[in-house]
């Protein structure tokens, strides 16, 4: 495996920065496709449903971003669309199980973040 990495590195150093970036993005895409049974849409919907059920009916999930690592997650923006538009905070969703990574205090925190966002004291 080490040898494989060295061979890949030899190829990578010959690429332009843009080409390297494209290759890395493609590798990340392959990881998502092969190892995450939970897709972005499912993650977003889980967050939207939780927000409306537990925080407020004027909030919804935005377009998730995949965060790789030992425990890959979908990082889902919490979107505010009334009073002021934008992302107030984020909620992570386990990319393997689809579980929302929240605690019993998350709803309070999200509401605080939303209020702060609307008041204009934060910008995400």
């Amino acid at each position: 495996m080490t040898t494989d990495y060295q061979q890949l590195e030899t190829v990578l150093v010959q690429l332009t920065p843009d080409e390297s970036h494209t290759v890395l993005r493609f590798a990340e895409f392959l990881l998502q496709q092969r190892h995450t049974p939970v897709d972005a849409r499912t993650a977003r919907r889980a967050v939207s449903a939780w927000l409306v059920r537990n925080v407020g009916n004027l909030l919804m999930g935005g377009e998730p971003a995949y965060v790789s690592g030992d425990r890959p997650v979908w990082r889902v923006p919490v979107l505010v669309s009334y009073e002021r538009q934008g992302c107030a905070t984020h909620i992570n969703v386990d990319a393997y199980t689809g579980d929302l990574l929240i605690t019993e205090k998350t709803a309070e925190k999200v509401l605080r973040d939303v209020k702060a966002f609307i008041a204009g004291s934060t910008s995400n």
């Binding site: 939207s48 409306v52 059920r53 407020g56 009916n57 919804m60």
Partner: protein, 130 residues
């Protein structure tokens, strides 16, 4: 809209206060049951199906549905929203949307289901008290 059907003519401010509305965030959807204090029977549903909505209409209840407008063809803005379902046919759902004066509005069944699924199929029924 649904309250007016039951001859309950409270102001938006009173209704907002009753359900614990917070500017910009709204209120947890199940807080809709607090409207019972205004004189209607309210039942909250964690999830539902088109058949559930049809049954509610058959029972003369008013189905109130939480959905995402981005999937509704007559909206050009993507936001969480609430509509009243007033009829269902094979491939069409008829809704009264408080954001529009025209009523009812026709929504293709598939679009309606996508919009509703965004929030896990949460809905409520209101019934006027005798």
């Amino acid at each position: 809209m649904a309250l007016a059907y039951c001859d309950i003519l409270e102001t938006q401010a009173i209704i907002a206060s009753q359900i614990g509305h917070i500017a910009g965030a709204g209120t947890p959807a199940r807080n809709i049951v607090r409207l019972a204090a205004l004189g209607v029977k309210v039942v909250w549903h964690e999830s539902g199906s088109i058949e559930d909505l049809q049954q509610a209409l058959t029972d003369y209840a008013i189905p109130v549905v939480f959905l995402r407008t981005g999937e509704l063809p007559y909206w050009d803005y993507d936001t969480p929203h609430v509509v009243v379902v007033v009829g269902i046919e094979a491939e069409t759902v008829y809704v009264n949307d408080p954001a529009f004066t025209q009523a009812p509005l026709l929504v293709p069944l598939g679009d309606f289901q996508l919009a509703w699924d965004e929030f896990g199929g949460q809905w409520a029924t209101l019934q006027c008290c005798e």
